[in-house]
């Protein structure tokens, strides 16, 4: 009986979390005219998805999001890795340096978006994917460096020493031993950075144009003066969530692996 109560509670919690996204999925798959019907599933239709990709050019926004999110991670990762390694191994900048880097992450985005716009305008990169990619890379870098620092700190310095007596330079030890060993950490950090960029709205809204909008901006534009196109919004949300579900599966495996990989002894 106690077990039943526990399970009921858990199911309630699951329902609270899962029902809204499930309803979004349902709304994306019924004709827009029946979106607000109280029937659970009045009719099946793919018209929302067709409309999204057809007249709304959702495919190109999707591609924009992939380019910007992936690009920013690839751009930020080497810098973040170097920064995290310097913090972890050489204590560069001491505690203050670490905190300074993290404090950048704590600034309200609104405080940064206008300066970012001004800078991009000066160099002529507003309304471009390149500009947004660079800005995302800069925004994610402190966070990535902080995560990687944790991973590097978990790698015993003995490993590098062993490599250096085995014949590598300090750089060689980093490249051949530290990086491969921290690969799960790099992957986890990369996926997190990807998700952050993927979901970002404010900078994307300010820094992109109609051709270069990312998914969050494109979805917001479906909120028109003629009302919210709820069907298409739902379809867009479903499509926006999909890669995140894949990514979180991936990240889960890698984070677990990252934790167990450290057991050198």
């Amino acid at each position: 009986m106690k077990r039943f109560g526990l399970h009921a509670g858990l199911w309630l919690a699951v329902a609270l979390i899962l029902l809204p996204p499930l309803w979004v999925l349902r709304t994306s798959l019924v004709p827009e005219s029946m979106a607000y019907s109280t029937d659970v599933f009045p009719a099946f239709s793919l018209e929302n998805y067709q409309g999204l990709f057809g007249q709304k050019h959702f495919g190109s926004f999707y591609l924009n999001s992939i380019i910007v999110s992936l690009g920013s991670v690839i751009l930020a990762m080497p810098f973040a890795a170097a920064m995290g390694y310097a913090f972890a191994r050489f204590e560069t900048g001491g505690r203050f340096g670490r905190f300074l880097v993290l404090s950048l992450q704590m600034l309200p985005p609104v405080a940064l978006v206008l300066p970012a716009f001004a800078i991009l305008r000066t160099v002529g990169l507003t309304q471009s994917l390149t500009g947004l990619t660079i800005v995302y890379a800069a925004l994610n870098m402190p966070f990535l460096a902080w995560i990687l620092m944790g991973f590097f700190e978990g790698i015993p310095v003995d490993l590098e020493w062993a490599a250096m007596t085995d014949g590598t330079t300090a750089w060689g030890a980093f490249w051949r031993v530290v990086l491969p060993v921290s690969l799960p950490g790099l992957a986890a950090a990369g996926v997190l950075g990807f998700i952050l960029s993927w979901n970002e709205f404010l900078f994307a809204l300010v820094l992109t144009g109609s051709k270069t909008a990312t998914i969050p901006v494109a979805l917001a534009s479906l909120q028109t003066s003629n009302g919210i196109q709820i069907g298409k919004v739902s379809a867009g949300v479903v499509l926006a969530i999909l890669p995140l579900i894949v990514a979180s599966r991936f990240i889960q495996r890698f984070i677990v692996q990252g934790l167990t990989f450290g057991s050198v002894k």
């Binding site: 015993p156 003995d158 490993l159 020493w161 062993a162 490599a163 250096m164 007596t165 085995d166 014949g167 590598t168 330079t169 060689g172 031993v177 491969p180 060993v181 690969l183 990989f261 057991s263 050198v264 002894k265």
Partner: protein, 379 residues
């Protein structure tokens, strides 16, 4: 092949008391030496300095007579075996052992042959494809050794390589390391805080404390003639019995006196200790110098209130307090010595191997050296 010499080597960490100070030592080519000391005494720091993994603050490190202070670790051709083994977790056993050779650009067939040889020597052949995570502690230890051996370095530096093994495996590996050293003949420095390893493995021991080298010499010589109370206490288990008291001139001789106990100093030491008459001293006698029967003119009866008896099998360690005082004493007696806790027993202390230490700095008060007990018995 390498001789290693340290001249006035210091390593100081800013804002920390750790490190090493003014270390002078010489290790001959092919010698097996032990750096012994409690944790934090600087022995690992010294080892890493010799390997080039830590820069030194002052002094010179010489390998084969050449100063190598600024030579990178990879160019010193020295192999280090770490306490944690530091196996590369993303490589299998073969790759771990081959790594050093690959970094040095050794031809593939030569790498193959060398790794195979080392694997055979260490019994690792069936494990070559495994990752370190799939190996037992003892196996990892062997891989770490193998990784050092394949490179055929001019010296091996072993940083507490046995401390993560269980007792039985440790005893096996002790013998194996000595055997390997005999076979390979390379200069070896073995860092440990284990006195059994120190006594049994090396040609010479260097004893360190608080970043300083306190005493060096062949194990038995250091054992018989500890430089101070620290060495006296550290190099044996149970440690040398140390009792504070006073040296008094008595009749024509000297006696160590403490709480109703008076022990006549052997005549051979009278001259050496004469200057300390009337002064407080620390008296030192090893647990094995207590016997259950009198044995000669240097023997003196001692009454002990037994507090505990540790029956180890081959011998009994009798722990008690000297009658009339609260000074604890441990005596190593035969397994046939049947004392029980609570009893009062009379033991016979052989005072010939005794030492006196200065209570100010703990340094041994010099006295003529005696042949150790074994040689005395044979004579």
């Amino acid at each position: 092949m390498a001789s290693i010499e340290l001249r006035q080597v210091s390593k100081i960490y800013p804002g920390s008391s750790a490190g090493v100070k003014d270390i002078d030592l010489k290790i001959a080519d092919g010698e097996f030496v032990i750096f012994l000391g409690p944790s934090g005494c600087g022995k690992s720091t010294l080892l890493r300095s010799i390997a080039g993994l830590e820069s030194i603050t002052a002094g010179d490190i010489l390998i084969n007579g050449e100063v190598v202070n600024h030579v990178a670790p990879r160019d010193r051709n020295i192999a280090v075996v770490f306490q944690s083994y530091a196996l590369y977790p993303h490589m299998n056993v073969w790759q771990n052992m081959a790594f050093g050779l690959r970094m040095r650009g050794t031809p593939a067939d030569e790498i193959d042959a060398k790794v195979k040889d080392a694997a055979e020597l260490l019994g690792l052949t069936p494990l070559m494809q495994r990752r370190p995570s799939a190996l037992s502690g003892g196996q990892r230890q062997r891989v770490a050794l193998g990784r050092a051996i394949v490179r055929d370095p001019q010296a091996f530096l072993l940083d507490e390589p046995l401390s993560n093994l269980d007792a039985q495996l440790r005893a096996e590996m002790r013998l194996e390391l000595v055997r390997l050293h005999r076979k390979l003949g390379r200069t070896t420095i073995h860092v440990t805080h284990d006195q059994v390893e120190a006594m049994t493995m090396g040609d010479r021991i260097f004893i360190m404390k608080d970043g300083r080298l306190i005493q060096q010499g062949p194990p038995l010589e250091v054992y018989a003639n500890p430089a101070d109370t620290f060495v006296a206490g550290f190099l044996a288990s149970p440690p040398m019995n140390l009792v504070a008291g006073r040296l008094l001139a008595e009749g024509g001789g000297l006696a160590f006196v403490t709480d109703g106990l008076s022990l006549a100093i052997p005549a051979a030491y009278r001259e050496a200790y004469a200057a300390w008459a009337g002064k407080p001293v620390i008296f030192g006698l090893r647990s094995e110098d207590f016997h259950d029967a009198p044995g000669g003119e240097t023997f003196a009866p001692v009454t002990l209130q037994v507090e505990a008896v540790e029956a180890l099998g081959p011998e009994n360690i009798v722990i008690g307090r000297l009658a009339g005082s609260h000074k604890p004493v441990a005596a190593r007696l035969s397994r046939h010595f049947g004392a029980q806790a609570g009893e009062t027993v009379t033991l016979h202390a052989d005072l010939m191997p005794m030492h006196l230490f200065s209570p100010d700095d703990g340094k041994a008060i010099p006295r003529p050296r005696i042949p150790d007990a074994q040689t005395r018995r044979r004579a």
